[in-house]
């Protein structure tokens, strides 16, 4: 039940209602003074007629004020309305129906919310008369959508039928802005109806200030899709990787947090982990009311490359998004060639003992991301470097001539080389044969007694290969290292000794990298191999030299967000094909950005896995993602609703009325109050005239 005005500008005329009072006050101020002998008779007269006189006086004033108010209201043409019906008459109507199709509508109205909302929209459109025009705007509106008011009911009905639930949150500000834009043209009567479940999440993000334009004089009614029951309400809040990287056939730990939004405990909730459509593991969980529970899944992936993962909640009557998608990039084992320059009969004393243990601590084949292979210097000439990502030379005296050429080709194609020195190491051979590929020109050896060893002083933790050593324990460990034998060199070190001599140096060669550790790989020149930091340092350097690949889990972006993708610079100018979850393909241009190429995908309007088809000739090992996940906003599963008062406060100064769906179905009635007001005005003027005569 409400009253609104067709010509609200005339309401400013209400200010004129103060005129009779002002005139009265002005008259009081302009008093004539008369000296008079019979004042006592005047007093007596006033006393005698005081009550009736004052009553008539105020009645006259009230009637005059009422007459002005009636006139202003009459010009503004008030309309009294009950229910949610449209005008029965009084000129053509321009109506915009904003239909909330956010994900939460799936569970509103006890599961029929969206169907009810569409029926309500159809009811409103069906109530239009000839000459009326309307538009239907869904709340997952994008800036590209075009809308216009139209009078064909059948076209509008088709538009309503075509609107589907979106996976994202309602963009109410954009939808309302569009509604006001459509109504920003002359029309007899303008109307806006929002059909929504008033879910907290969508309206939480709404602010009147975000509207591009608004007209508070346009009547706005919210038709609420309510619910009778309080369903179980939960959703997957977070998915994250539990262990270190994602490797082929390595143990993979995935942690998931499931939230319960409801006031009732969720018991025996089946939570399933599936990868590439195959169910990997499932658990039963109990989630306390308004609480959350973390679950850990253990599995393995048998194949390198991208994998689509999903956590699914299964429980009868559960309201809330039941699925959360994620993308896995499984990394195959990194093959490392260890060249032992000082082999011993005892493995422990061999130059590569500590290196092979650092890369594969258990020694079992499927226990580590790294697969080290040890060869002696004689085997270098026959070793096929294409089978390895990284080559480590440990105290190798001199580089065989035939090997140098193959090594340089290996580096140019993106391979990694880590050089350790030692007592057999001949600096001249390296200086001469590797030349510019060497991180620094090597000079003489420096050795001394173990107790007088140099400490490590400076470490470049900003370097990608050393970032993982920033941990406090590892920092203390590396600073406790003593180095008493090393190869002096000139260059900018990544790690330096206390005396300023470099301990670790780097040089890029083509697509590959060369790193030089100026001390040995065993305990002959330093105690580094027996320190805690040795294992993470060697693994980190190996991954860095192999191109930084270690596999990962990407929990994805929310629906509507923009996905930024990075590619090698050679991709610039080509098109990237994106296949959406509904198999629809879109083309995205790859553009240049600094040293890399980039592409932006902004059409992420569906939840699920998006697959990328890289341009022909592209390198699958380029580091570019091949899939990514898009999820519905986690909070969209929360079914808490705003109250009518809270909604009205949010929409202030827009005058809002909240109606239940039932009110719309019952229809409504509109009465033009102009005629009754005219009658009241005439009656007021007549009464005023009659009373005035009696004075």
């Amino acid at each position: 039940m409400s009253v609104f005005f067709l010509y609200p500008l005339f309401l400013f005329g209400l200010a004129a209602a103060s005129l009779p009072v002002l005139i009265h006050l002005l008259n009081r101020r302009r008093l004539k003074r008369i000296r008079f002998p019979a004042v006592r008779f005047i007093l007596l007269s006033q006393k005698r007629i005081s009550r009736s006189y004052r009553l008539r006086h105020w009645l006259l004033l009230a009637l005059r004020t009422l007459a002005v108010i009636c006139l202003a209201l009459l010009l503004a043409n008030p309309i009294f309305q009950t229910g949610a019906g449209l005008f029965a008459g009084g000129g053509p109507v321009s109506l915009v129906v904003v239909l909330d199709n956010s994900l939460s509508m799936t569970w509103s109205g006890d599961g029929n919310g969206f169907k009810q909302a569409k029926e309500a929209a159809s009811l409103l459109i069906g109530g239009l008369n000839d000459g009326d025009r309307a538009a239907v705007i869904a709340t997952n509106i994008s800036g590209k959508d075009a809308f216009r008011l139209k009078g064909q009911k059948d076209v509008l009905a088709k538009e309503i039928a075509g609107i589907e639930i979106a996976d994202g949150t309602a963009n109410l500000a954009a939808a309302l802005s569009k509604a006001y834009e459509l109504l920003n043209q002359p029309a007899g009567q303008k109307e806006i109806r929002i059909i929504t479940d008033m879910a907290l999440t969508g309206w939480d993000q709404f602010s009147v200030a975000a509207l591009k334009q608004a007209d508070p004089s346009i009547p706005l009614k919210v038709i609420r899709i309510g619910r009778n029951q309080q369903p179980l309400n939960g959703a997957v809040k977070e998915i994250r990787l539990g262990g270190q990287g994602v490797g082929v056939n390595l143990p993979l730990q995935i942690d998931a947090t499931v939230a319960n939004f409801g006031a009732t405990e969720i018991k025996e909730l089946l939570v399933q982990l599936s990868i590439d459509g195959q169910n990997k593991e499932q658990k039963l969980a109990t989630i306390p009311a308004k609480g959350e529970t973390s679950l850990t899944f253990q599995t393995r992936i048998g194949q390198a490359g991208p994998h689509a993962g999903r956590i699914t909640l299964k429980k009868d009557g559960l309201a809330g998004n039941p699925a959360a998608h994620f993308a896995l990039d499984a990394q195959d084992k990194l093959r490392v060639l260890l060249v032992d320059g000082d082999p011993q009969t005892s493995l422990v004393q061999s130059e590569t003992f500590f290196l092979s243990r650092a890369l594969n601590p258990s020694g079992e084949r499927d226990a580590s991301l790294f697969l080290p292979t040890v060869v002696l210097p004689d085997g270098l000439n026959t070793a096929n470097l294409d089978n390895y990502q990284v080559v480590m030379l440990a105290n190798l005296a001199a580089l065989p001539d035939g090997f140098v050429t193959r090594l340089q080709n290996f580096l140019r194609q993106g391979g990694g080389l880590l050089i350790f020195t030692g007592d057999k190491f001949q600096a001249d051979s390296y200086n001469q044969k590797l030349g510019a590929a060497l991180p620094a020109q090597l000079r003489d050896k420096k050795t001394g007694p173990e107790p007088g060893g140099e400490k490590i002083d400076k470490i470049d933790f900003a370097h990608p290969a050393l970032q993982s050593l920033a941990d406090t324990i590892l920092q203390e460990s590396i600073k406790s290292v003593r180095v008493w034998g090393y190869q002096r060199a000139a260059g900018k070190p990544l790690i330096a000794l206390a005396n300023g001599e470099p301990l670790l140096l780097e040089q890029k060669v083509g697509a590959g990298k060369v790193m030089l550790l100026t001390t040995g790989a065993d305990r002959d020149w330093s105690d580094l191999p027996v320190k805690t930091v040795f294992l993470p340092l060697i693994q980190s350097l190996t991954q860095y030299l192999a191109g930084g690949k270690r596999g990962n889990l990407d929990a994805g972006i929310v629906v509507g967000a923009v996905k930024e993708l990075s590619f090698p610079a050679t991709f610039v100018g080509r098109n990237l094909r994106v296949t959406k979850p509904d198999k629809q393909n879109i083309e995205v241009a790859i553009t240049g950005a600094k040293e890399r190429a980039a592409a932006t995908v902004d059409d992420n309007d569906q939840a699920g896995i998006y697959r990328l088809s890289l341009p022909a000739g592209g390198d699958k090992d380029s580091g570019a993602p091949q899939i990514y996940a898009v999820n519905a906003p986690f909070l969209e599963s929360r079914l808490d609703q705003l109250s009518a008062a809270e909604l009205a406060a949010k929409l202030k100064p827009i005058r809002t009325e909240v109606l239940d769906l039932a009110a719309l179905k019952e229809g409504g009635k509109r009465v033009d109050l102009a005629l009754p007001l005219l009658g009241m005005l005439i009656a007021t003027l007549l009464l005023e005239g009659w009373l005035g005569q009696r004075f």
Partner: protein, 296 residues
């Protein structure tokens, strides 16, 4: 009466005549033209009272018989005997100064008083004047000398209107002073308590006086002819003021005034006092005619 004579009594015309004596003569001569002569009965000497001798009194006026009676020298006083001894009591309070159109109530009262005195003296009766507000301002005892009119006029002109009205108190005071019977003429707007005024007048009646009351009101006091919102300030009580819309209260005001007049008239009638309401817009002949009708 001929139309040309009407001007004699028109208050507005009279207001234009500054000389009160001339004004009175104008009125009276106009009135008496064609009227029969009064019943003048001549003069005689009549004992009035004894008073104690004081040095300077003539020895011959000592009443030797009274010496035996009172054992003191007493002087015998005589009064000229006349047909009539008239006391003209004129209200000189501030409220009498009101004039809505032309002549004020006080001026009207003075003209009326002078006219009456002129008429009385012309008939060789004695006329005296008392002017008062809340106290006696001047007291001119009645005399029948022809040139006494000048003293009366002087008394009227020497005291302008001012002060509050207290008619009842003045009447009580005068009733003690006036011992010989005669005619008491009260000319006032009577803006006082009617009961107290009539009570004072009754004292004169008890002593055998004839009493005539000329109730003098301005026409505006009767009709309240004003428009718009007005702040009315009382002429006598400085702090008495009221805002009123005359249009709204006029009917009731008239009722109140008529009730007041009716009350005065009734109380006077009950006490055998002649009452005459006079508006300052009324020609003076009505007042004089009222007097003459009394004289029979």
């Amino acid at each position: 009466m001929a139309d040309s004579d009407k001007n004699y009594f028109d208050p507005k015309v009279l207001a234009g005549i500054a000389n009160l004596a001339l004004r009175a003569r104008w009125v009276v001569e106009g009135l008496l033209s064609g009227v029969h002569k009064s019943r003048a009965k001549g003069f005689s000497v009549e004992f009035e009272e004894h008073r104690e001798y004081s040095p300077g009194d003539e020895i011959r006026r000592i009443d030797w018989k009274a010496l035996g009676k009172f054992d003191r020298y007493m002087i015998k006083e005589y009064e000229d005997e006349t047909n009539l001894r008239a006391y003209l009591l004129v209200d000189g309070s501030a409220s009498m100064n009101y004039a809505s159109d032309g002549i004020s109530k006080f001026d009207y009262a003075c003209t009326l008083t002078t006219s009456l005195a002129y008429l009385i003296l012309k008939q060789q009766d004695a006329a005296g004047v008392v002017t008062f507000s809340n106290k006696v301002e001047s007291f001119i005892p009645p005399r029948s000398k022809r040139d006494y009119l000048l003293q009366i006029i002087h008394a009227l002109e020497s005291h302008g209107p001012g002060g509050e009205t207290n008619v009842a108190k003045i009447l009580e005071e005068l009733a003690g002073q006036i011992r010989r019977r005669g005619l008491i003429v009260l000319i006032s707007d009577l803006l006082d308590e009617p009961e107290l005024i009539v009570k004072g007048l009754r004292q004169f009646r008890f002593k055998g006086n004839d009493v005539i009351v000329f109730h003098l009101l301005d026409q505006a006091e009767i009709d309240l002819p004003f428009d718009g919102n007005i702040l009315f300030e009382d002429l006598e009580a400085a702090n008495l003021q009221v805002i009123a819309d005359p249009r709204a209260i006029r009917a009731t005001y008239k009722e109140v005034v008529q009730e007041f007049i009716g009350n005065m008239r009734k109380q006077c009638h009950d006490s055998a006092i002649d009452y005459q309401l006079i508006s300052t817009a009324t020609p003076l002949d009505r007042a004089l005619a009222s007097y003459l009708s009394w004289r029979g």
